[in-house]
Amino acid sequence: MRAKPVRVKIISYAALIFIIALIQSTVLESISIFNIKPNLLLIFIISVALLGSNIEGAVTGFLCGLTQDMLSGRVIGFYALLGLYLGLGIALINKRLYKENVLVAIFTTFVSSIIYEFAVYFFVNVFKGSLELIFPFRYIILPEAVYNSAVSIVIFLIVLKINHWSEELERLSRRY
């Protein structure tokens, strides 16, 4: 009985990752603006890490990254490692933020998207010897960060709802 709230959270997160990965890989192209599409899995990692514990953030980041690796990556583990550190990093600072505020989520998504996408660009291109900063920032990273911030409202509220739900269940299970 006691494990149930956690189980609810795990199952709903897993279902969300599945649905988001599906959307991300298929229909998202049709809502891209200036050929840039938002990164829903990234927003999901950020939302979960913002509301949860260190372990939650790290594990969710890892699993989301791994899903992306398997579906559209070149190697296994690249996005998983980045996701792990992103989730962990945000989960570590979330105690200092008023975390249930949507504006905080939007701001965190904006900043993290920039850092994350720069990291992806850096690690992909660092050994090719052609690191440019202005073009990728201006035409890919910045538009994506703005788009991500906008979409983060929806995903953050869904994750917040799941969190409230599992807290409620936890309180109920404690009472008995």
């Binding site: 990965a21 298929t26 229909v27 559209s72 070149r74 296994i76 792990l84 992806v120 035409y139």
Partner: protein, 287 residues
């Protein structure tokens, strides 16, 4: 404090483990990549379904708009067909002649031992950096890594990894793609490369232009067959613009691929019929 240290140790171990996995899976035909079957096999039916739905919705919306345009187009096409029929008759004569001559000269046709495998695109790359996509054919259908992928218009790219029922294809406009090519008119050897800045416009760039090379806007570029991945003579595209960096010694060109990458839905994978065990051969195109 001991707990903190313990956590750091766990994090370090996990990081190193993932780094090792990255290293191992970066190798060609690495066995580790088979774990991606876990997700691709589970998701591919859903992706196919969504793709199918999308096509139907688009089709239904178009149906009513198109009726008038179609009847006009039908008339125009009928005229065109009669023209083409005449041309086909002429060309089939040439084909026979060509065949005889080729047999006489003993030229090996690179297409003769190739099988065309039709495939649908069911997923796109998740991020904004790369231009890869997933097709609904995999190891079970006989797709092998490094097979060329084409459409009726021209070259699309090549297969970079295969799962059980799906494969990932890297397109020629992706930054990591290099194709050895020739200018059809002059037979000069060039390279067609993907470029991050041109990718979103569906264009790619042409490098290795020598100073004395005669290249102009509108020239057709085709694969050279060097490197062993792409068969010879597949159309890549046309030169859109020739740019110079500092002087004539340092030129590059912008290529408009014959394939429209934004509206790509179905592709063909070229599989060789007899040397299927040969796919581990690493070509120079694969750098």
């Amino acid at each position: 404090m001991r707990f903190v240290k313990n956590k750091h140790f766990i994090l370090l171990t996990v990081t190193v483990a993932i780094l090792i996995i990255i290293g191992l899976s970066a190798r060609k035909n690495s066995k580790i990549n088979t774990v991606s079957n876990v997700v691709t096999v589970a998701l591919s039916p859903f992706q196919e379904f969504i793709n199918y739905l999308g096509d139907r919705v688009e089709g239904a919306a178009k149906y009513f708009q198109d009726i008038e345009a179609l009847s006009q187009e039908n008339e125009a096409l009928k005229v065109r067909i009669s023209e083409l029929e005449k041309e086909v008759k002429e060309l089939s004569d040439y084909r026979e002649k060509n065949k005889e001559l080729k047999e006489a000269l003993n030229i090996k046709d690179q297409f003769s031992d190739v099988e065309f495998l039709g495939a649908n695109i069911i997923a796109k790359d998740m991020g904004n950096w790369f231009h890869t996509f997933t097709i609904d054919r995999g190891i079970a259908d006989g797709v092998t890594v490094d097979s060329a992928v084409i459409t009726k218009d021209g070259l699309v790219g090549r297969v970079i990894s295969t799962d059980l029922f799906t494969s990932k294809v890297i397109t020629i406009i992706d930054e990591d793609s290099t194709v050895s090519a020739r200018v059809s008119k002059t037979r000069d050897l060039v390279f067609v490369k993907g470029d991050l800045q041109l990718k979103n416009q569906g264009l790619c760039r042409l490098d290795n232009i020598f100073p004395d090379m005669d290249i102009a806007v509108g020239d057709t570029i085709e694969t050279s067959g060097l490197g062993g991945i792409y068969p010879k003579g597949i159309i890549i595209g046309k030169v859109k613009e020739v740019r110079r960096k500092t002087n004539d010694l340092n030129r590059y060109a912008i290529i408009e691929p014959a394939v429209d990458f934004k509206r790509l839905e179905e592709v063909f994978v070229l599989e060789s019929k007899n040397n299927k065990d040969n796919y581990e051969k690493v070509g120079e195109d694969n750098k």
